[in-house]
């Protein structure tokens, strides 16, 4: 048996030398054929440990430590109560909701990239859609934690679900929080479905290329016996198209509904009609930022510069810049209407947001979300991956600050001056947030090691497409 397995291992060829980036004009590097892309992408997953970079171990370990921090924080939370956070009256929502919105926002890139860009036939999406879908799932998992954690009595979260109970009581469907329950769970489920459907053919490839029998068995079960029949492919593509078509309005609805948590309320700073589009834009913004934050190191670590080329990264950067401008417009409108509405609460709220105790955060967020990203206008910057990566981090921070501004500054000084207060996060606020970051990263690390982080069959299509345009049969390349 093990000779066979050794043979299998040797049958998978990974390039030994570092492959350079083929530049910003092509989606895939040259010299790739069906077999090599399978080996290159699948190999990362199925080959033994020695073939994966040490960085992986270090990163995974660090993330794991943060997961433990998260568990500690949650343990305290459940035993002592939400009092361990900096919450109070008036500021009854803090980090938990901020992080929830932030994570959900990040969770938007995946579906957007795979669905929307798929519908508008953006070929460069091929190389990052699988990865960003995974990222979406993990982000949604982190996001989904918070609404439950932030409950005063989290063990009763299931009261938000409509099920026949001995109290004969039901959820209250006018509450945006109830809408969230459906929106987030639907989004999670659909993203999972979309992701899994996308994985099916690749799982089959792994089943047929994995060196070890146990691997093959696992992937065989996961791939449900996919064998690439033409008719299957036909139905498959239809289903995938429909899923994309469904995911697109869904992704818009989800953050719209999240924005309703605020927009439906009475609070100056929350009660804002521009929120839905402005939240969606913000979500996409942070989503792309997070994708770039992760993809740039990923392709370097796994020597995949020719699979995820500058073309992709630049396109993503451009898109990010565009969405960033929409977000900027959102801020502008918010400020404008605060003034134009003539509403004393609204205008005070915005003035307080800019000049009040949390003013510095407002200006920091303007810097992060509007000023700095303008650098992306220059192609030089876009081609400097170090810079793009830094900017994407900056945007992630900025988007978090935006949510902080929305949640906290609106609450801490609302209608009656007598009940004004301040919100100062405690170490457990921060620990919980950091913990979910760790959880997210750990999932990412496990993912790249367990599943193909690029859609192999779509890359094959791309290869096929490229070959046709070079009018050369792939075999000769191979020989």
């Amino acid at each position: 048996m093990d000779q066979i397995e050794k043979a299998n291992v040797n049958n998978i060829h990974l390039p030994t030398e570092v492959i350079p980036d083929p530049g910003a004009n092509i989606v895939l590097g040259h010299g790739l054929d069906y077999k090599t892309v399978t080996d290159r992408i699948g190999g990362i997953v199925v080959l033994p440990w020695k073939n994966s970079p040490k960085k992986w171990l270090v990163g995974a370990f660090i993330s794991f430590c943060f997961v433990n921090l998260l568990m500690l924080a949650v343990y305290l939370l459940f035993t002592k109560g939400v009092g361990i956070w900096g919450l109070n009256i008036p500021v009854a929502w803090g980090f938990a909701i901020i992080n929830f919105v932030w994570w959900i926002g990040i969770g938007h890139a995946g579906t957007l990239i795979s669905a929307v860009l798929f519908l508008v036939k953006q070929d460069w999406r091929t190389s990052i859609n699988r990865f960003s879908e995974a990222m979406t799932l993990f982000a949604v998992a982190c996001a989904g934690m918070f609404p439950i954690l932030h409950l005063g009595r989290p063990w009763l979260f299931y009261w938000l679900l409509p099920y026949p109970n001995s109290m004969w009581l039901w959820p209250q469907p006018r509450s945006p929080l109830e809408w969230d329950v459906f929106a987030v769970s639907t989004y999670g489920t659909v993203s999972l479905v979309f992701w899994y459907v996308g994985l099916l053919p690749d799982l089959a490839s792994l089943r047929d290329t994995a060196p070890y029998l146990w691997q093959r068995k696992i992937y065989a079960i996961l791939s449900l016996g996919w064998r690439g029949s033409a008719i299957h492919w036909h139905r498959y593509q239809k289903a995938y198209l429909l899923l994309a078509g469904l995911a697109t309005p869904l992704v818009l609805s989800v953050h719209t509904i999240v924005s309703f948590d605020f927009a439906v309320s009475q609070l100056p700073g929350w009660h804002t009609t521009i929120f839905p589009p402005y939240f969606v834009a913000g979500a996409v913004y942070s989503g792309f930022a997070m994708v770039l934050t992760l993809v740039i190191p990923l392709r370097a670590w796994y020597n995949m510069r020719d699979l995820i080329t500058l073309r992709t990264i630049e396109a993503a950067a451009k898109l990010m810049l565009g969405v960033g401008l929409i977000v900027a417009y959102g801020y502008g409108m918010e400020a404008f209407f605060a003034w134009y509405s003539g509403d004393k609460y609204e205008s005070f709220m915005y003035w307080n947001r800019m000049t009040g105790p949390y003013g510095f955060m407002y200006w920091l967020l303007i810097l992060c979300n509007i000023a700095i990203p303008q650098l992306l206008w220059s192609q030089k910057v876009r081609h400097n991956l170090g810079l793009v990566w830094t900017i994407s981090i900056v945007i992630n921070i900025g988007m978090w600050l935006e949510r902080f501004e929305i949640v906290v500054t609106s609450l801490h000084r609302d209608f009656l001056p007598s009940s004004w207060g301040m919100y100062i996060p405690t170490k457990w606020d921060i620990a919980t947030y950091a913990g979910t970051l760790g959880f997210f990263m750990l999932l990412i690390f496990l993912f790249v090691r367990a599943l193909p982080s690029i859609s192999i069959f779509e890359v094959r299509e791309q290869v096929h497409h490229d070959l046709q345009h070079e009018n050369k049969p792939a075999v000769e390349e191979h020989a």
Partner: protein
Amino acid sequence: MAQLFRPSSNTIAKVSIVAVVLLASSTIGVAYMIDRGSWITNVQVAPEQPIAFSHKHHVKDDGIDCRYCHTSVETSHFAGVPPTETCMSCHSQIWNNVTATQPIRDSWASGKSIAWNRVHNLPDYVYFNHSIHVNKGIGCSSCHGNVAEMPLIYKVNTLNMNWCINCHRNPAQYIRPRAEIFNVAYQYPDNQAELGAKLVKEYHVQSLLDCATCHR
């Protein structure tokens, strides 16, 4: 090593899908059965009592009225638990030397009263008022069942909220003439529909579904 599984695996695969669905639904089903079952609700469970007091004997055989012991049922939210004196008023004369009634005499002598175990118990945040129900034509047996047939007292109803709501929704189907309140063997007449409606009007019974009716 082309073939990884035996042909049977196809059936297994398809069956397992069905199995998972069935398993999930049956777990939920079981959960519900437990939740509604007597292990949770204590329905039909007669707890151990310091004295083997038989409502059957006292109510049915001796024909003692509920209010003889549960004195404040018409005036207070709390129906009242009889003091030892109430027991002694008879058992100083009859059965005054059998072991069954020894605890009464002990209590009488020592001044330490008898620690009964609660059978009908509501959570702290539920404010049930006996007097208003009794005054509005809801009989004892509507909630407590026919105690005249209970050697040891036990719950016949879950006292779950949906059980309460059921009557609060439509009192007419459970209301009875005030004269029959303490008739634990009361049978609802065939014309309960119109009788109920009539009594509801007569006793000004409202269908109170506000939370604050019971939760304060």
